[in-house]
């Protein structure tokens, strides 16, 4: 008997496959390809091999900006790792304790900012930190700290950290929720057994609960990594494409935007933009690779 071609499978798959292939997979591959070309003044594109990468990594007129953005992006990520995720863990641990009053309400409220546009969050904090409005200064005055107030967003040394903290404030709900879900999934009898043995809550937390949720902690790390190295909106809406003051808040996303579209006197170049995007792609791929090949594999071995 001759098998009929399974038309229904093709029909089910076609729309998703076509749209995804044309508007996601193909552009990614084409961007990799474009990064090996160079754009002439006339707009014509010619093969250039690794020239764009050499410029980005070595030629000071490009590389200073690129490495600056890379350094800032690493700091941005470190602030998230050192503050956002531990804070998320603390909140989740408190929420998952038994008999905490209003736990659901706290959860809902703390998760709320993650749903708002980064643009809005950026402006809200800009207003709050504005010396013109004086809200922060006034509130610091309540605890007699007004002398320490400074225009944090406007100073080179503090602007990047201030923006990072704004982002931490917005997104702490995500690690909190993921870790909370992992914590309440731990079977009660394991914890009960430890209590019966006389272990303190503190000890149970660090020696039983945290090791059991390591896969979730790994997942929040990689999610933070991908999100941070792909960030753009917050810096752009608060500081513009120039990521001032003096590029001190420039991260890869804003650098990519400038390389692609240009700024002030520098003309943008699609091929240079493609090269920056490809380097961002490699950074993200490296992060994801490290996660899958070292962390997740190790964790699985650990849990069996």
């Amino acid at each position: 008997m001759k098998r009929k071609f399974p038309w229904h499978i093709a029909v089910f798959l076609a729309p998703a496959f076509l749209i995804y292939a044309v508007f996601s997979a193909y552009p990614l591959v084409d961007t990799l390809r474009l990064s090996f070309f160079t754009t002439a003044d006339s707009g014509a594109q010619t093969w250039a091999g690794l020239l764009n990468y050499r410029s980005l990594l070595l030629d000071p007129s490009w590389s200073e900006g690129f490495w600056g953005a890379m350094r800032n992006n690493c700091k941005f990520f470190l602030v998230h790792m050192c503050i956002q995720n531990p804070l998320g863990l603390l909140l989740a641990a408190l929420l998952s304790m038994r008999g905490v009053k209003f736990a659901k309400a706290y959860q809902t409220a703390i998760f709320l900012p993650t749903l708002l546009s980064v643009v809005i969050i950026g402006f809200i904090w800009q207003l709050i930190l504005s010396p013109l409005w004086g809200v922060s200064e006034k509130m610091m005055g309540w605890v007699h700290l007004q002398d320490f107030f400074a225009p944090w967003l406007g100073q080179e040394e503090t602007a990047l950290y201030t923006l990072s903290l704004m982002s931490v404030w917005q997104f702490v709900g995500i690690p909190m929720m993921l870790i909370y879900a992992a914590l309440i999934a731990i079977p009660d009898d394991i914890i009960e057994a430890a209590y019966v043995e006389g272990a303190s809550s503190w000890r149970i937390f660090w020696t039983i609960r945290v090791p059991l949720i390591l896969p979730t902690l790994g997942l929040t790390t990689i999610l933070t990594f991908v999100g941070n190295f792909n960030a753009f909106d917050l810096i752009y809406s608060v500081k513009g494409a120039l990521a001032g003051p003096n590029f001190s808040t420039d991260i890869l996303g804003t650098y990519f935007y400038r390389a692609f579209f240009g700024y002030q006197s520098q003309i943008g170049s699609p091929t240079m933009g493609a090269a920056v995007a490809t380097l961002m792609f490699l950074v993200i791929l490296l992060g994801v690779g490290v996660y899958f090949y070292f962390i997740q594999r190790k964790l699985q071995r650990f849990s069996f």
Binding site: Y26, L28, Y106, L127, K138, A274
Partner: protein
């Protein structure tokens, strides 16, 4: 025993102080904006932390935003883009998820991997080529361009979550339908789709938020006045009116409100979605 009770009280108190304190920190900035958007200019500056009263209450900011900007137009654009993308992601995503989880065919594993790749790699990195493609398709400054990109962006996660869910549908159900001679399309639309409704709702909320909030693609693909979305509109409006605090606060409020309202309705669904693995 008494000591034990006291220490338990102390620890519960400590927990409440931290959680309530952080909740205050999370809500305070949003509340501050909402409160001040209802005040006159003098009210905003004299006492930012006070609630509006009969002296300071004013809707001048909202009047300015609604009359002098195309806020309602942008709002409509955002709504169109978000809803169209959402419907297409859910429909096409469910169809593909069904094909991948139900039928065994050559290359199904590779295809699943192909889709899964999109979960980790941000579509934003392909922007250079996406713009080139949209220019050649003459789709720049259309909402269609945005919809296409968002659908491509949303499909991988939708397919992953929905196929996981579809695998849990009992085999007997499908076999019974097939024995009765029901066609494959009918099985999908009349048996499977209604069954996966809860999962669809979860995917919908997850997909909706990033689309509604996106700044990057509207900025690059559809910055024209006719096609701006709310996020882009607010971004540019605020840039122009930095000195008009009433208008700035009002436009921030108008941008926050729809999300707040949605969250009031969907927060349980959303939270359940995130914690799904645990509560199952």
């Amino acid at each position: 025993m008494a000591q034990n009770k006291a220490s338990r009280w102390a620890s519960a108190g400590f927990t409440q102080v931290i959680l309530a304190g952080y909740t205050l920190l999370a809500l305070f900035p949003i509340a501050l904006i909402l409160i001040n958007s209802l005040k006159s200019r003098a009210g905003i500056f004299d006492d930012p932390l006070a609630l509006p009263n009969s002296d300071t209450f004013s809707l001048i900011g909202f009047q300015k935003v609604l009359h002098e900007s195309h806020f309602t137009l942008y709002f409509g654009n955002s709504l169109t883009v978000t809803i169209t993308s959402l419907v297409l992601i859910l429909l096409f995503g469910a169809m593909a998820a069904w094909a991948l989880s139900e039928y065994k065919f050559k290359g199904s594993r590779i295809l699943a991997l192909f889709f899964a790749f999109g979960i980790m790699v941000p579509i934003r990195l392909g922007t250079v080529s996406i713009l080139k493609l949209m220019v050649s398709l003459q789709l720049v400054n259309t909402l269609t361009a945005l919809v296409l990109v968002y659908v491509a962006q949303g499909l991988p996660l939708a397919i992953m979550i929905l196929s996981e869910f579809m695998q849990q549908i009992p085999k007997e159900l499908k076999e019974a339908a097939r024995c009765d001679g029901v066609g494959e399309f009918k099985i999908f639309f009349q048996v499977i789709l209604p069954l996966i409704r809860p999962a669809v709702a979860t995917v919908a909320v997850f997909t909706m938020v990033p689309i509604w909030n996106d700044l990057w693609f509207p900025l690059i693909l559809a910055p024209g006045d006719e096609t701006k979305t709310v996020t882009l509109g607010v971004q540019q409006f605020i840039g122009q009116y930095v000195t008009n605090w009433n208008a700035v606060l009002a436009s921030l409020t108008l941008a926050v409100l729809p999300v707040l309202i949605m969250y009031v309705f969907f927060s349980r669904q959303l939270i359940r979605g995130i914690t799904a693995g645990a509560v199952k």
